[in-house]
Symmetry: C2
């Protein structure tokens, strides 16, 4: 029986001294010129060439960040937009990162009910129970949309159980219009996302997977930029690890992320995506490393990790 997902994640964080995850959300047009060559404005590219480029880029990002962070988060949207070939690249990168020893979070934000949710859970976590998918590596955890209530989450919790896998349920997102739904005040004075938070805590409590570090396999995606909300949510979901997007490209600074952690430094993993993988676009790295985009990625990843270390104590 493998360890509880939360323990695996926390111990990987301790090993790398970094509560950090690199988001691999590549866009063909922004790949380094040294990888795809010069591209004329308006020029298009075949699916095959784009898929090959995304796979090569993703692999090299994974190899570059493996010594520095415990985990990568791969957003399937950036691959799914290429159709089946893109999905194959996503799965190949999940496999590559797994084989490198990284914890892999599939940022898929799936949500459906009953039997359909079970199909998604098999595809994204457990593997199919009738159809042989020998080469089909699945992530260690996935992000989920909780609008259906427990029915949409339970099949994933069950698929995680006994496999050392986990889920992160969307609680509060960081986008401009999130408040129009997630901050609606409910009859008992709580905001909508607090209701979802209390459900996540309930699901975490009943999911039988409290680990050595006192967290379960049921985590939450929390991305408010309001420190009070962050602290309130930290208290409301004591058994859930938070996956927190928004560092760097989305404007977040290390200080903003402190309230997501407990005093001992556990409780959250901070994601940086474009600010790391597209570091070659940033003058401070480009001027230093020129066309060597992997050095840019490496340095941006080191800077990300040390910026977090400034404000968050490393557990363990």
């Amino acid at each position: 029986m493998p360890d509880c997902f939360a323990d695996r994640l926390i111990e990987a964080i301790i090993a790398r001294k970094a509560p950090a995850v690199v988001g691999i959300d590549p866009v063909y047009e922004r790949l380094p010129e040294s990888l795809i060559g010069p591209r004329a404005s308006g020029e298009t590219v075949t699916v095959e060439a784009a898929s090959d480029a995304l796979l090569e880029f993703g692999r090299r990002v994974i190899h570059t960040v493996t010594p520095l962070v415990p985990a990568v988060k791969i957003n399937i949207a950036y691959f799914e937009c290429l159709g089946a070939q893109g999905v194959q690249v996503y799965l190949d990168l999940v496999k590559e990162a797994t084989q490198q020893g990284l914890i892999v979070i599939g940022d898929v934000k799936r949500g459906d009910v009953g039997h359909t949710a079970m199909m998604y859970a098999q595809g994204h976590l457990a593997g199919h129970d009738v159809i042989q998918t020998p080469e089909h590596f699945t992530p260690d955890a996935v992000t989920l949309n909780g609008y259906f209530g427990l029915d949409g989450i339970k099949p994933f919790i069950e698929a995680s159980r006994g496999r050392g896998k986990g889920v992160f349920v969307l609680v509060r997102t960081s986008n401009d219009t999130a408040a129009s739904i997630q901050d609606i005040t409910t009859g008992n004075g709580k905001k909508m996302h607090e209701i979802v938070a209390s459900l996540v805590d309930e699901w975490a409590t009943t999911s039988e997977t409290l680990g050595r570090h006192d967290y379960t396999s049921v985590g939450a995606v929390v991305a408010t930029r309001n420190a009070e909300d962050a602290a309130r949510l930290r208290a409301a979901m004591p058994r859930s690890i938070f996956l927190v997007p928004g560092y760097g490209a989305q404007g977040g600074r290390a200080e903003d992320f402190k309230p997501y952690f407990k005093a001992d430094g556990t409780g959250a993993i901070i994601a940086a995506g474009r600010s790391v993988i597209f570091a070659h676009e940033q003058p401070q790295y480009r001027s230093k490393f020129g066309e060597d985009w992997e050095r840019c990625v490496e340095q941006a990843c080191r800077d990300f990790v040390s910026d977090l270390a400034r404000v968050v104590p490393i557990p363990g």
Copy 2:
């Protein structure tokens, strides 16, 4: 410039005299024995064999129902669970149904924000703007999760615009635990799903695509089994066509669906999935047509359509 999605859908409903959509959610284990042969308990099958069988089954279902209904709804979860090959089968079925002249709803329930939502919208509706995907047929409409607010929906509305495509935003689902989130009472006395409904109406109003039949390309997924809630939601979203799952296998009878329609018979399209595509499992069809599972599907589809016609006036 193609017609508005709502007009295309309503005119297809008028042409077939059926506000009905067949849900193609196939599971390998339940495919007819005459298609996949006898299967020993516990026996597994290769991805290739399963993909071929799902493609053949889906194609034959599409050909069987094409003369009877205006649309099919294909749930990607049942294909995605096979990995990239399954996604290719999903796309092949979208193409097949499109070429047969059916309106195709991709039941993908995607939801993300900003640039990521744009990637999903390109993949599922518009096609990629830089990468050539010549063989990549996309559905006419997709289902979406609105938990992010407008940020998660707008890229899909924009991808629909000028293409005759549309979206259906989840408002109220039919599963047991939906109420734990969707029926939460908010500060102004409305339930959470009514807040989402009013946002959908706002998005529909501002989406510039009011068609000849007074609907826009922004529809809603509504599946409450409460007639009063259904009527209230019908009044709250006058410009949105409702996609209503739950006929047959999920227990809904034709009478239950009447409140989803306006008096003129427009306003909703009812989905039946397993009760049609797995009709070969049902004694009343099996006893009549034996191993001829396509005749079972055809008769179940006819029965579904005539049951609706009993209670809903056909528009036009």
